[in-house]
């Protein structure tokens, strides 16, 4: 209801409101008058061609070193030719000229110019990158004829060791619209380069520097007249990895043409000394802009060169898993080191037969012999007595079947089956036959090479499951330490001292005894402990298996595995090797491990050769 006493007061207020509005509008008009009438001439000159221009100066990304300061990833100067869109006066002519100079067809150049529309307009549109000095000189000689064309020098990622550890480093690429829209994309602009995988991605905030700026005055043709102000870029931080360059190189060389992965880890700290995945790719391809066909080739290669097999490859651990089975059985008390099983080549459960890899059988076998000669029957029997859930518990305690929190994205969990898991996954009961094959690391069991290395390290260091670390230290250019790795114990497993000692001795035997399957990893100077494994890729009928080495197609051949640590009496390093379709753990994977150990201990590095004899497993 209208309150009569309000009336005079309200009139005043309405007037006041109107007055305030009028005054503020007058203020705005006054400002417009100032800009558009008084200052008009100045702004008209500025607008003519935006005479003053800010040019970004790219910051070099932080270099990556190994633990001893050896340079692994660096930057080198690269020359680029680009175009400032608003300075073009005759587009057709310019494209024709550039096409001739750069030896790129004008349709491609046209497309690049078009793509540049996504860029902020003050940013030159790149037409060719990483051009030769000769070409650069030719462009500069013709610069008067090429209005709007700029040449610049900027840092580009370089890789002294080409494809070595490429998966660990990862590669760079132009930021996508999607990445820009995410919170992490804050501070980036269209056209910026960003880490797309590996450490380049994980450490992006550390590696990326701060862009510099150049304030320049340009003429009507867009040519720089003078530089008014320069703000230098700040390079990215220095990253020191836990890798050792020589060990890494040895691992890569030892894998050679094989597909597979090697992980070498310091058993005392969890620091990764080498992480190789092959086949690899050259990240330099990405640095200068990968072509469609090159990209397609990498993607379609059946051996998956882009996949980091050390953390994403999931393989049946095969007989390397016998370490877990042995420790679980001893701890549960279903077996002792002296438990004897008579292996006559197969194991019968109900009406099913499970074969030992050695068809003639191993005869009476105890733990040491079972490990040394990789007798399947001993583990079938012990595994059956143990049961799947106790086996799975031990495996989980030792870091298998779950991600370890490694620095890179996409680390796989592997798989350690249990009754509950099978119920949930297949809605089916667990069968004893499945326990039997799980005990020798087949069936559902899957592990990554990284997990195998961590598992092996836990045996070597007495039960500590360490988080695998690859970044040792991050340092700013002023020497300030931004990050320093410290050993991190994920879990501690209680194996029981005597159980552990028995298993450790059997692993020594598996490398050093005359009948051992892992002899190809033996060193003269240090005692190695290890275990071979050969993982079935396809279940072939037995008569096919015998001919396997010659006629089995590559993709059906067994994977070769080997895990080891050394020195056996005072362990420092653990190594896990997986050679895809390498057929025999003892024959193919063990020599790779030896090469890594030799490099680590600085021994005479011998080229790894597969020994002539066939090592069964």
């Amino acid at each position: 209801m209208k309150n009569e006493t309000d009336v005079p007061d309200l009139t005043r207020r309405f007037l006041l409101l109107s007055l305030v509005a009028v005054v503020i509008f007058l203020l705005l008009l006054l400002r417009l008058w100032y800009l558009q009438v008084i200052q008009a001439e100045r702004f008209q000159i500025l607008s003519e061609r935006n005479r003053i221009r800010y040019m970004p100066i790219a910051a070099p990304r932080g270099p990556i070193f190994d633990r001893d300061g050896q340079l692994l990833v660096d930057n080198r100067p690269a020359f680029g030719v680009s175009v400032m869109r608003q300075d073009i006066d005759d587009r057709e002519r310019l494209l024709a000229q550039l096409s001739l100079l750069l030896d790129v067809d004008s349709e491609t150049l046209e497309a690049r110019l078009k793509a540049g529309r996504r860029f902020p307009f003050y940013r030159p549109v790149p037409m060719a990158d990483d051009v030769s000095r000769d070409l650069l000189e030719r462009v500069q000689e013709n610069s008067l004829d090429l209005p709007g064309v700029l040449v610049d020098v900027h840092p580009m990622r370089s890789y002294p060791h080409a494809d070595v550890a490429a998966h660990l480093f990862g590669y760079l690429g132009e930021i996508t619209e999607r990445e820009l829209a995410q919170p992490a994309g804050k501070g980036y602009r269209s056209g910026d380069v960003i880490g797309k995988s590996g450490l380049e991605q994980t450490l992006e905030p550390f590696l990326r520097g701060i862009e510099g700026q150049r304030l320049v005055e340009v003429d009507v043709l867009g040519k720089e007249l003078r530089v008014l102000k320069i703000q230098d870029p700040v390079p990215g931080n220095k990253v020191y990895l836990t890798l050792r360059q020589d060990v890494q190189l040895a691992a890569e060389r030892a894998l050679g043409e094989h597909a597979g992965a090697v992980v070498a880890m310091d058993v005392r700290s969890g620091e990764i000394l080498a992480m190789a995945s092959r086949p690899s790719f050259n990240p330099a391809l990405f640095a200068r802009g990968i072509s469609g066909s090159e990209w397609l080739e990498l993607l379609q290669n059946p051996r998956h060169p882009l996949q980091n097999k050390a953390i994403k490859g999931q393989y049946p651990p095969a007989s390397t898993f016998k370490i877990v089975t042995a420790l679980a059985a001893l701890r549960a008390g279903v077996a002792t080191p002296n438990t004897r099983v008579d292996c006559y080549g197969s194991f019968t459960l109900g009406n099913r037969q499970f074969r030992c890899w050695k068809r003639t059988g191993h005869g009476v076998t105890d733990l040491r012999k079972a490990m040394r000669e990789s007798c399947d029957v001993w583990f079938y029997k012990v595994g059956l007595d143990l049961g799947i859930d106790r086996l799975a518990e031990m495996a989980r305690e030792m870091g298998m079947g779950e991600a370890l929190g490694f620095a890179l994205a996409g680390e796989k969990e592997g798989l350690m089956p249990t009754r509950a898991w099978k119920r949930k996954r297949f809605n089916a009961p667990w069968y004893d036959g499945e326990t039997v094959i799980a005990a020798i690391g087949q069936g559902y069991v899957l592990s990554t090479p990284l997990q195998l290395a961590v598992m092996t390290a836990s045996v070597a260091n007495g039960g500590q499951v360490l988080r695998p670390q690859v970044v040792k230290r991050i340092e700013g250019w002023d020497g300030q330490v931004l990050h320093e790795a410290r050993p991190e114990v994920l879990k501690t497993v209680d194996f029981g001292a005597s159980n552990l000692a028995a298993v450790q001795r059997s692993l020594e035997a598996a490398v050093n005894d005359p009948q051992a399957t892992g002899r190809a990893s033996r060193l003269d100077e240090f005692k190695v402990a290890g275990k071979t494994g050969t993982a079935q890729v396809v279940r072939l009928r037995d008569d096919d298996r015998d001919r396997a080495s010659r006629v089995t197609p590559y993709r059906h051949r067994d994977h070769a595995l080997f895990v080891a640590y050394a020195p056996a009496d005072a362990p420092q390093i653990a190594v896990a090797v997986v050679v895809e379709h390498g057929q025999s753990g003892g024959g193919t994977a063990a020599p790779v491990a030896r090469a890594v150990l030799e490099a680590y201990f600085g021994l005479n590095v011998s080229a790894p050769e597969a020994p002539a004899g066939h090592f069964g497993d």
Binding site: I24, L28, L32, Q36, V37, Q39, F43, S47, F121, L215
Partner: protein
């Protein structure tokens, strides 16, 4: 039954003013995005359809007596506050800010609705509890709490521009309702110290924007660039402008965000000071007319409603223009009827609908 007087009293002046402004805005948008291929081409058409939708909403609002809003005000408030809270939990994040609820077909921005809801809530409060000698602090306690909750939630998103606007709109309504001098001084002091303390609550990018405003050279490629380029565009327009679709700054794409927050710069470049004068007079007329509607309102609720809506339009215009011509920091406030965007258009038109509603029912008691 429908009252014939409602049609007779329909406020054609207001509707025509708003429509003229909207059409100038759409023509300007056509010019601003003319050079864009593909996705850019449809902007003015989309804006036209948003205007159509807004117009229908405005007319729809006219069909209901605004006095029903008085009773719904509190419910609206609670619902919108819940939506604001929901934004923080399940909102859609774009460019680092979480402001939208994804409804599938439409991205709802509850902070925009909040502007209107605060107006309704305040109108209800102040229309019920009148004070000849002005409000005392303890009578302002409830409205201040009602205000603080959404402002904090919107600040959290973070959306400094919208939260400031809500504060400004509410401020006008409180001042219009009248408060005692002592309270005014106290609130002013509180506000000043709050602004000082608030500096520490601001997000880094918000601080950066304010620093950049004070010293555009700091970030010449980012926010500073917007201000510099906008000033060049506006200034080079001169007295009579470069002509429709002839703006070199805008057409050569020096000017960023020229279809949204900086749409006015395009206009200023192409139409010069003379064009700006006409446009500003139109906007000023709209504001004065809004105050006139408030003055003629049939009851206190309608009066406060009209004052609030007018304040909302006014602050949008003043803050956007101030920002574009370098008087205020860049805070991302759209110019009503001019900047591209469905939410802004719809909010403005709903506000217009409320004004029309109050205006046409001025003779009904």
């Amino acid at each position: 039954m429908f009252d014939r007087r409602l049609l007779l009293n329909f406020d054609w002046t207001l509707l025509i003013t708003v429509s003229v402004l909207a059409f100038i805005g759409i023509a300007n948008l056509y010019s601003a995005t003319a050079g864009w291929e593909g996705s850019g081409a449809g902007f003015y058409l989309k804006q036209l359809s948003w205007f159509g939708i807004g117009l229908m909403l405005a007319l729809l609002i006219c069909c209901f007596d605004y006095r029903h809003l008085e009773h719904l005000g509190f419910h609206f408030y609670i619902i919108t506050l819940a939506l604001l809270a929901a934004v923080l939990v399940v909102g859609k994040t774009t460019m680092g800010a979480t402001r939208w609820l994804d409804l599938g077909f439409f991205n709802l921005q509850p902070s925009e609705i909040m502007k209107l809801v605060i107006i309704i809530a305040f109108a209800r409060y102040f229309s019920r509890y009148g004070h000849f000698h002005g409000y005392r602090l303890r009578e302002l306690f409830l409205p201040l709490v009602l205000l603080a909750l959404p402002v904090v939630l919107v600040l959290k998103q973070p959306d400094l521009g919208t939260s400031l606007l809500i504060l400004f709109i509410a401020g006008v309504m409180v001042l219009f309702a009248g408060i005692r001098r002592g309270v005014l001084v106290l609130l002013a002091l509180l506000g000043a110290s709050g602004a000082g303390g608030g500096w520490f609550l601001l997000h880094d990018y918000q601080k950066e924007r304010i620093r950049t405003f004070l010293e555009p050279e700091r970030d010449p490629l980012g926010a500073g660039y917007h201000i510099i380029q906008s000033k060049i565009a506006v200034g080079s327009g001169g007295m009579f402008g470069k002509g429709f679709m002839q703006g070199t700054q805008s057409q050569l794409s020096f000017l960023p965000e020229r279809h949204t927050d900086f749409a006015f710069s395009v206009f200023a470049e192409e139409w010069g000071f003379s064009g700006c004068l006409v446009l500003l007079l139109l906007y000023l007329f709209l504001i004065i007319w809004g105050i006139y509607v408030a003055r003629r309102a049939a009851d206190r609720f309608g009066m406060f409603l009209a004052v609030g809506v007018t304040a909302m339009l006014f602050w949008h215009i003043a803050v956007n223009l101030g920002m574009v011509i370098g008087l205020l920091p860049v805070v991302g406030v759209p110019l009503p009827l001019f900047s591209y965007g469905g939410t802004s258009m719809v909010t403005t038109m709903i506000g217009t609908g409320l004004l029309l509603n109050v205006s046409m029912r001025r003779f009904m008691f």
